[in-house]
């Protein structure tokens, strides 16, 4: 029992009271100067400024509590509160019990007209004993230990409910509080927004510093103007577009990483103020302009006004992004088409190779090599085909069928590289090439084309693409060393790349040296990516130099000429003669003329004719040889006839001679009669 005046209620009261259950406090009159400036507006609850929790804290912590006395009640558990009657009349509508070390809500008797109740900074664990205060408008239970919202079902007039900094895990039992204007649940352990859909007068909802991971279930809050969700773990937001009055939304320090997670915000017409700072999304480069583009109704972002300039920039950037996306889409479409075409070409190539293999397997009577396909029949090559490629291309078959037959080859020009896929692509060299494009091309890549077909096109390549210095071959069926001879007719090659895939020639030990040897006049720099060294050149010469020598100097003249053709033979003859005269000395003239000719001519006889041409030539040869054979046969017949006659003559001549002599002797035995006979013959002749 503490009579008398109090200067500081809180402190004294704290000293004098036992923070337990047996507390008796008696109120005394309040001095004038300690009058509290607290106003409770009964009509429209419009609070000054922005009603944030820390403002409320400030309001209340500076305030001094009522002079109250808690009286020991008859009930052992709850203290009973009794106001002095004076106070009742003065401040009959508010009661402050902050920092009273209360662990339970005391029973408050005779205060049915109470409008404001303040239990801040206590240790209350349950809301109880206030059911009778049915006129209560303002209930402050900030900073207690409340674990569950309960005991409020009779407080139908309640407009402000402050339950910040408690231990509430779930929003519940608010069904009857339909007049609620401000609901403050910050600093609790709430994981889900629920049971608030009936609060159609609610203007401020504070759920900061809780454990929310997502925001939804906000329907029905038609008056909600401000929603504070700072310091949660929110990853996505929904239903905000169903809040017709929402103006301010604070999402700072959450877990939002993409604008899609908060896409409903774009549909909200009322939002003017939003914060995203402290979210992963705020670190992205596209953050600001994406937000501004999608939420044109915004006035402030992250507590800063949005200027016109910013908006303009945002729309410009957004347009650029859109274009970029469209471009990349186009690019990827093109790439896809290219890939499909190349796959198509590859399939045709495989089919071709299979056919060729089957044909050669049939030709060879060698029974040692087993046939490659079990179903090996002469013309039916289609049957083995789907089995092998079905698994791989099953997804593509439908797409490929839609590709027309034209798409069996692909020509691609990419800066300095011309890529040709499929034999049909070779026709592109017939096209008119602009001088600029043709001049830029330094690399030509051939894929899925038979090398023999490429050989036929090389002269065109020489003319049309004069700067092509690097040739690449992949899946071109390069199988023989002599095929490289065909490359000698080009103007120049700096680099040669022969991909092992589809080119069996790469498996040979000597192929690089042969290339270097045959194409030595090009002074190649790289083969398959590795630099050509002086030693390589020497080795090449050492290996094949004699071949060149034999091929040039030992070939009979007529053969040389027939191989080389008119244009070169004169030069060749000249060179051979000079070379023959001065062996072993590096001849200046020789070098000059060599450079003029452009090729080391002792190799010039090493040519390559494609199989078709060669077979044609062989046919030709057969014809001619037949003729020659006939001609020689005639000659032989003649000769043998003559020989026979000669031999016959040899045999018969002695006999004939003897007869001649005998006849003559017989005739001239009688000189006189012989003389008469001769005279007679002469006169007869006349």
């Amino acid at each position: 029992m503490i009579p008398g005046k109090y200067r500081s209620v809180s402190g004294r009261a704290a000293n004098n009271v036992n923070c337990g259950l047996h507390l008796v406090i008696q109120p005394s009159s309040l001095p004038e100067k300690n009058k509290v400036e607290f106003k409770l507006n009964r009509d429209t609850p419009s609070f000054p400024g922005r009603l944030l929790q820390h403002d409320l804290e400030r309001n209340y912590s500076s305030r001094q509590g009522d002079h109250i006395n808690l009286v020991n009640s008859s009930m052992p558990s709850f203290p009973i509160l009794q106001h002095s009657s004076e106070e009742k009349s003065l401040y009959s509508d508010r009661l402050t019990l902050e920092r009273q070390k209360l662990t339970v809500c005391p029973i408050i008797d005779g205060e049915e007209h109470l409008r404001l109740l303040n239990f801040q900074h206590n240790f209350i664990t349950r809301i109880q004993n206030i059911s009778n205060l049915q006129r209560l408008i303002f209930l402050d239970l900030y900073d207690n230990q409340i674990e569950e919202i309960s005991g409020l079902s009779t407080l139908r007039s309640l407009r402000v409910l402050l339950l910040g900094k408690n231990r509430i895990k779930k929003i519940s039992n608010l069904e009857n509080l339909i007049n609620l204007d401000v609901l403050d649940l910050h600093g609790n352990q709430i994981t889900k927004i629920e049971n608030v859909n009936h609060l159609c007068d609610l203007r401020v909802l504070n759920l900061a510093r809780n454990l929310l991971s997502h925001v939804d279930n906000l329907t029905g809050l038609d008056s909600l103007t401000e929603l504070n969700l700072r310091h949660n773990q929110i990853a996505f937001v929904r239903d905000v577009d169903h809040l017709p009055s929402l103006q301010r939304l604070f999402l700072s320090f959450n877990n939002i990483s993409s604008f899609d997670s908060v896409s409903c915000l774009a549909d909200s017409t009322s939002l003017s103020d939003i914060t995203f700072d402290g979210n992963p999304i705020a670190q992205e480069s596209w953050y600001k302009h994406t937000v501004l583009q999608n939420m044109t109704q915004l006035r402030q972002l992250d507590m800063r006004r949005i200027t016109e300039e910013e908006r303009r920039m945002a729309s410009v950037v957004a347009k650029k992004e859109e274009e970029k996306k469209r471009e990349s889409q186009k690019q990827s479409l093109l790439k896809e088409k290219k890939r499909l075409t190349i796959n198509n070409v590859a399939r045709h190539w495989d089919l071709q190779q299979r056919v060729a293999n089957n044909a050669t397997n049939q030709d060879r009577k060698d029974s040692a090599s087993p046939p490659q396909d079990p179903c090996q029949t002469e013309g039916s090559t289609i049957s083995p085909f789907p089995e092998d490629t079905g698994a791989v291309d099953s997804g593509l078959t439908s797409a490929l069928q839609s590709l027309s037959v034209i798409d069996t080859h692909l020509v691609e020009v990419d800066g300095d590289t011309l890529s040709l896929y499929g034999s049909g692509a070779l026709e592109s060299l017939d096209r008119n090439w602009s001088v600029q494009t043709a001049g830029m091309i330094t690399t030509v890549s051939f894929t899925f084309i038979e090398f023999d077909e490429i050989v036929q096109v090389l002269p065109k390549l020489k003319i049309k693409l004069p700067n092509s210095l690097h040739l690449k071959f992949k899946e071109t069926n390069l199988a023989m060393l002599q095929q490289f001879n065909a490359l000698a007719q080009l103007r120049r090659i700096d680099q040669l790349t022969v991909d092992p895939q589809g080119n069996p020639v790469v498996n040979f030990t000597l192929w690089k040296y042969y290339v270097l040897f045959r194409l030595s006049h090009f002074s190649m720099q790289k083969i398959n990516g590795t630099e050509v060294t002086q030693n390589d050149m020497i080795m090449a010469e050492r290996l094949f130099g004699i071949l060149a020598h034999v091929a040039s100097s030992e070939l009979p003249q007529y053969h040389l000429i027939s191989i080389l053709g008119d244009a070169r033979k004169k030069q060749f003859r000249y060179l051979l003669e000079t070379k023959g005269k001065k062996p072993g000395i590096v001849n200046e003239e020789n070098n000059d003329s060599k450079r003029l000719v452009g090729e080391n001519t002792n190799r010039a006889t090493l040519n390559y004719t494609t199989r078709e041409f060669y077979n044609e030539k062989l046919e030709d040869i057969k014809e001619k040889k037949k003729f020659c054979k006939m001609y020689i046969e005639d000659l032989v017949k003649e000769a043998t006839e003559i020989n026979m006659k000669n031999e016959a003559l040899q045999k018969l001549w002695p006999q004939m001679f003897i007869e001649l002599v005998r006849d003559a002797v017989i005739e001239t035995r009688n000189k006189n009669s012989y003389m008469k006979l001769c005279l007679q013959q002469i006169t007869d002749q006349k």
């Binding site: 498996n507 030990t509 050492r542 004699i546 009979p556 060669y614 054979k629 020989n643």
Partner: protein, 331 residues
């Protein structure tokens, strides 16, 4: 020249035996092919050139296979040409696959058939692991007998198959050998039967073959020598021994003996001359070779050219002199 035996032979037979007609026909064919050019410098000179090249063995270069195969002289010339051109490959010590040798053959004859090369490879590899690498000399000698005696070898193969299956192709046989045949048949049916055929029987069949047929056969004395040494033999065993026998080589006369296979002083000189002309190479490194120097002279060191080709080549941008050191440190 005017021996009675020669005169006794009818004309056609004489001509055919010496393949005179083949060369005449070919000469006329060449004339036909190049008549414009040849007419410029005279037909007589052409014929001189032609038959000179036939004598030297250069007439078969880059010719079609049917011509190369036509006469034994052509075949021998081709073998010799192949040896001369690619001796350097063998000297370098590379081991190549059958396909690669075939490529080299095709460099000289574009339509050379693969079967012949395959058969030659089988002789070397004893019909086993056809992708194996072969040395130049092994391949060359096997190829020699395969190519030069191809018809003979085909017949021998047929005979061998017959003998293996128990049939005896000889209809006229001495009674003793028929009893040998009967003894052979049950022997074949046993498990663990020795491979191949009996040498003496085989020899008799070969003897008959050589008598009957006109195409060239290896000297029977040599064959007898080989077959006398063994009791039984397999087909490829026989061929392998045949190919390695130096007597065959000498009988053919196309290739030098195995010991001298890598030697060809004239060509080596020519090679040095060519190497001197490789662009960028300092001429002073190679001294002008003199005629008559001993054939065992090693080629002058130009940098370190004899790197083993099996190892991946390292990019060598240093000057020639320093590569010698690196070469030694590598080995």
């Amino acid at each position: 020249m005017l021996s009675p035996e020669r005169l006794a032979q009818p004309d056609y037979e004489y001509l055919a035996q010496r393949h005179v007609l083949t060369y005449m026909e070919d000469a006329v064919y060449q004339l036909l092919e190049n008549r414009e050019d040849i007419s410029q410098y005279g037909i007589a000179r052409f014929f001189m050139d032609y038959f000179n090249s036939v004598c030297q063995g250069t007439h078969i270069l880059f010719r079609e296979f049917s011509f190369i195969q036509a006469t034994p002289h052509n075949r021998a010339s081709f073998l010799r040409a192949f040896w001369r051109c690619f001796r350097t490959v063998g000297k370098n010590g590379d081991l190549l696959t059958m396909r690669e040798y075939h490529c080299l053959l095709q460099l000289l004859c574009p339509d050379f058939p693969l079967e012949l090369t395959q058969k030659a490879a089988r002789i070397v590899l004893m019909d086993d692991a056809m992708d194996c690498l072969m040395s130049f000399s092994d391949f060359l000698f096997a190829f020699q007998i395969q190519f030069y005696y191809s018809e003979f070898l085909d017949s021998v193969a047929a005979i061998y198959q017959d003998l293996l299956s128990g049939k005896n192709p000889n209809t006229v046989i001495v009674p003793t050998s028929s009893s040998g045949q009967y003894r052979q048949r049950p022997a074949l049916g046993e498990a663990g039967v020795p491979e191949g055929v009996e040498a003496s029987l085989f020899y008799q069949c070969l003897e008959n073959l050589c008598d009957r047929h006109k195409y060239s056969c290896p000297p029977l004395a040599l064959v007898k020598e080989i077959l006398n040494g063994v009791q039984r033999l397999t087909f490829y065993g026989f061929l392998g021994t045949l190919s390695k026998h130096p007597g065959i080589n000498q009988a053919l006369g196309a290739l030098p003996d195995k010991a001298d296979l890598m030697q060809d002083p004239a060509m080596d000189e020519e090679l040095e001359r060519l190497l001197a002309q490789v662009p960028g190479l300092v001429p002073a490194v190679t001294a002008t070779p003199e005629l008559g120097c001993p054939p065992s002279r090693t080629p002058p060191r130009v940098g370190s050219p004899w790197r083993p080709l099996h190892h991946p080549r390292k990019v060598d941008t240093e000057s020639d002199g320093s590569t010698e050191e690196t070469d030694e440190s590598e080995t």
